[in-house]
Structures are given as C-alpha cells and as structure tokens.
C-alpha cells in the first residue's frame, strides 16, 4: 500500500486518483500505524508552510516521516510537501521545517523580470524541467515534456549540497524543481496534474527500489 500523508494541507484526492489509476493500492491517511506499514509514502500538499508544519507536529507526522526516511522507505514529496522537507521556509515570517534535506525555501522576488517583462506570481502553469543524472524515478521522460506548477516559493539547496539537485526549471531564473537523495525524491510541480509525463514519474516512483 502507498500512504498519502494527510496533514490538512489541501486536496489530496487528485494524487490518490492518479496513483489508483496506475493500479496501485493507495490510502490517504494520518494514522501512524498505517504509515508505518505502508510500502511507500507520498508527501503532497498545498497551502502555507507555517500551518502545515504545525499540523504535522500535532499529528506526530514529522517523526513518522523521519523514521520512514531512516528505514529506507521510498518517499515522494510534491509541492508544499517538497518545500517543508527542507530546513526552513521564508513563508509565514520564517518557518523551521523538517530538515530532511539541506536548504531553505524562498519567495520569488517581486518584481520578477524576464526580458524586461514582469512575470506573474504564483508561477502557475506548464513549464519544463531539465533533469540531470539518471535517477530511476525520472527515467523514460521525453525532454520536451512540461509539468504543471503552482507556487510562489521555491527551494534553494544549500551551497555544497548541489549533488541532490536532479532537476531545474527556469522562471525568471533557474530554480531547483526536483531533488533526490537516497530513498527520497521530491518535486516542486504536480505530477498528478502533469499529463502522461507526470503519470510516468508516479509510475516510476511506484516501481522504484532505492539501493541505500
């Protein structure tokens, strides 16, 4: 079973539908026993980092995620889930986060300019991801694919830890849109809303056997 972590951070049904569509048993849950028994974990979410972290702690899910990571269980972060995997976020006046990956989450600068044009915030819509390396979760993707993004904050990996960056996207400047380390992968975009390319990533994740 694949556990989708429910920490009151938005509508998780799309992620569940996409994974179920691929033929996998899936459960939206905040139950610690279910998460412990799950074969894999998806950590999605939309909303604000401060509220999300407070809910995670209240439900004891911060500990559960850390434990799953140490056990070597495959974990996929999506959007806000990805952001709060890092050490801290600028959102909500500065929010300490899970610290499972080195880096912090920053707000897109305003005004954000490209070729003299002011870019809209949130970064909403389809954009490309330049994947690097040969991570199995991002295998078999047409380089021309685009992925669906909705966000106003982006992860900035700590200097010296750049080896965890597996994908970058340009919006005014290049930012980190996919990271991976050991049994953890995390993306800023929404694979469940990204058409066949996104489904391929979810399918790869569901089959992934991290060797660590």
């Amino acid at each position: 079973m694949i556990a989708i972590i429910d920490y009151k951070a938005g509508n998780l049904t799309s992620v569940a539908r996409a994974v179920a569509h691929l033929g996998h048993a899936v459960e939206i849950t905040h139950d610690l026993a279910s998460i412990d028994q799950a074969e894999r974990i998806i950590f999605p979410g939309v909303g604000a980092a401060g509220t999300a972290m407070a809910n995670l702690r209240e439900l004891g899910l911060d500990q559960a995620l850390g434990q799953a990571l140490r056990q070597g269980k495959p974990i996929l972060g999506i959007c806000l889930g990805t952001q709060i995997i890092f050490s801290a976020s600028e959102e909500d006046g500065g929010t300490p986060c899970l610290g499972l990956l080195p880096g912090r989450v920053r707000k897109f600068p305003s005004p954000l300019l490209a070729d003299g044009q002011r870019l809209k915030i949130p970064h909403m819509g389809w954009n490309r991801v330049d994947f690097r390396g040969a991570h199995p979760v991002f295998a078999g993707l047409d380089p021309a694919f685009a992925y669906y993004f909705v966000h106003s904050y982006y992860p900035e990996v700590e200097a010296g830890a750049e080896e965890i960056i597996v994908g970058t996207t340009v919006y005014g400047f290049p930012f980190t849109s996919a990271v991976a380390r050991d049994n953890l992968v995390a993306v800023q975009f929404h694979p469940e809303k990204s058409g066949p390319g996104g489904l391929r990533i979810l399918e790869n994740f569901c089959a992934w056997r991290p060797s660590c």
Binding site: G10, N11, T13, S14, R17, A18, H21, V46, G47, S110, A114, Q117, R118, L119, K120, I121, P122, H123, M124, G125, W126, N127, R128, D142, A144, F145, A146, Y148, F149, V150, V170, Y171, E192, K193, S194, G195, P196, G197, G198, L199
Partner: protein, 259 residues
C-alpha cells in the same frame, strides 16, 4: 520558460455537453467526460466546465461528472457556474476539480473569494468576469463595466477595479470574458485583456471571440494574456488543440508541445 495555456471550455447542462458540439472521431458528443478525455489526449493544458444547469436540484449531476472526469484526465480542470457558497466550492474540489470559478456570486458577495481562498488556497479560486465596454465615466473610469446575466445586467462596477479587488481578496487567477467579443469569432478584446493583465500580478485567461489561431497568438503575445479560453473553434472540428499549438510554436509563443 512558462508555457501559455490553451484551455477548451465545455458548457454542461444536467450532465450533458451543449452547443451541439460535434467531433468527427468516435467521441460521444453528449458526454462531458468523453470530451474531456478527447481534449486531454489532444494536448489541452487545462479544461473548464461551465455548468449551465438551471434547476438547483439537478446540480448533484455535475458533481458526478467532475468525479468521473477526475478519474479520466490528469491535467487541471475548473468548474464554474452555480458556485455560490464555500460548500459548493468544497463539493466540486473534493470531487476532483483543481479550481472553482466564481462570477456573479462574487459580484454580489465579494467575501466568497476571501472565504474560498482561506479555506482552499487562492490557487484554486478563479475570478470569472463578464465585461462590456461602456462610456468612460467617473464611476467606470476604465470604460469597461462588470456585467452579469450574460451581459443583460450592468453592475455599476469598473472592470479594472474589480480585477484588482478580486486579487486583493485572494483570487489566484482571473478569467476575463468580453461579452462584446463573445461569439463573434473576430478575435479577443485586446485592449481590455491588455489593460487587466498589465494591472494585476495574477494570471489572466482571455475569453471570448476566438475564431482563428492568429487570434490566440495575438492575445497571448500582444495583450499579455497568460492563457486563452477556446470553445467553438475546436468543438466543431474546425481546428484542433494540437494544430493551434503548432501555429503558436511556429510564431515563437511558448506552448506545451509534447504530451
């Protein structure tokens, strides 16, 4: 680079698509789920369902359409028409829509934008605006007025002010429909789209008047629209989403070209 989005819009009444939409392929033209799937496979970047069901006791049918669509396509789609309360929003979002669109309900009760944004996040609240050109006046300084009831009722609200107010209340996006251009197939209302898009920081979807791929290119490139809503152009098989995107790509507009 962020792609400009092409968004087909389907009118749905009591669970069936309307407007005599006809596809050449083996698509059940009355079935919104089949049409959504068809557009998904054609490379649509997003879809809009507009529920024109008149009787409120038949609205539950739309929820079923949304649920079945969410199981069939894996791109964002929004639902508008008849959304009046936060509970209406919740039902549509939990059924699997990515966004809800509020139009006349927000004009009558602007707080619904804030309530929706607080409950579900601004990214899923689309402010739909129907707009008509009028004489410039003290009350309508932009010369564009917000209307409801398909353009029959003028609300005495300036369109530019309302767009900015919608953003301030927490809307994540604006779907801007020109009643003057709607149905003409003579092109989008360029001046209106440009005015609104330049004066808000959230994305603007241009709506009303698309007849050719060149109209779409123009509104995206010259009026700074972030996305273009289309309906009859593709519903009647005259153009395909893929064909439109090829045209945009050839003319240097960033579009999602692989799916």
């Amino acid at each position: 680079m962020l792609s400009k989005r092409i968004i087909p819009c389907l009118d749905v009444r009591e669970g069936k698509t309307t407007k005599g939409v006809k596809f050449k392929n083996n698509v059940d033209i009355g079935d919104p789920v089949a049409m959504a799937r068809f557009y998904y496979e054609q490379g649509a970047d997003e879809l809009v369902f507009y529920d024109i069901t008149a009787s409120s006791d038949k609205r539950a049918i739309m929820i079923d359409v949304v649920r079945r669509t969410a199981e069939a396509i894996f791109i964002p789609f929004s639902v508008g028409g008849g959304i009046r309360t936060v509970d209406d929003m919740r039902a549509v979002l939990l059924a699997g829509a990515e966004k809800v669109s509020v139009n006349s309900a927000a004009v009558k009760n602007p707080e619904i934008i804030r309530q929706g944004a607080e409950a579900f996040g601004g990214q899923c609240i689309v402010l739909g605006m129907d707009v008509k050109q009028v004489e410039v006046s003290e009350r309508i300084p932009s010369g564009y007025e917000v209307v409801i009831n398909g353009g029959r009722t003028f609300m005495g609200i300036d369109a530019l002010w309302w767009a900015q107010e919608g953003q301030r209340l927490g809307a994540g996006e604006i779907c801007l429909n020109s009643i003057d251009a709607d149905g003409t197939k003579q092109g989008y209302e360029m001046r209106l789209t440009s005015l609104i898009s330049a004066n808000v920081s959230i994305p603007v979807i241009a709506s009303g008047g698309a007849g050719t791929p060149e109209h779409i290119r123009a509104v995206l490139a010259e009026a700074s629209a972030d996305a273009a809503l289309i309906a009859s152009m593709t519903h009647f098989g005259e153009y395909t989403v893929g064909g439109i995107k090829d045209y945009l790509h050839e003319h240097g507009i960033p579009a999602r070209m692989a799916w």
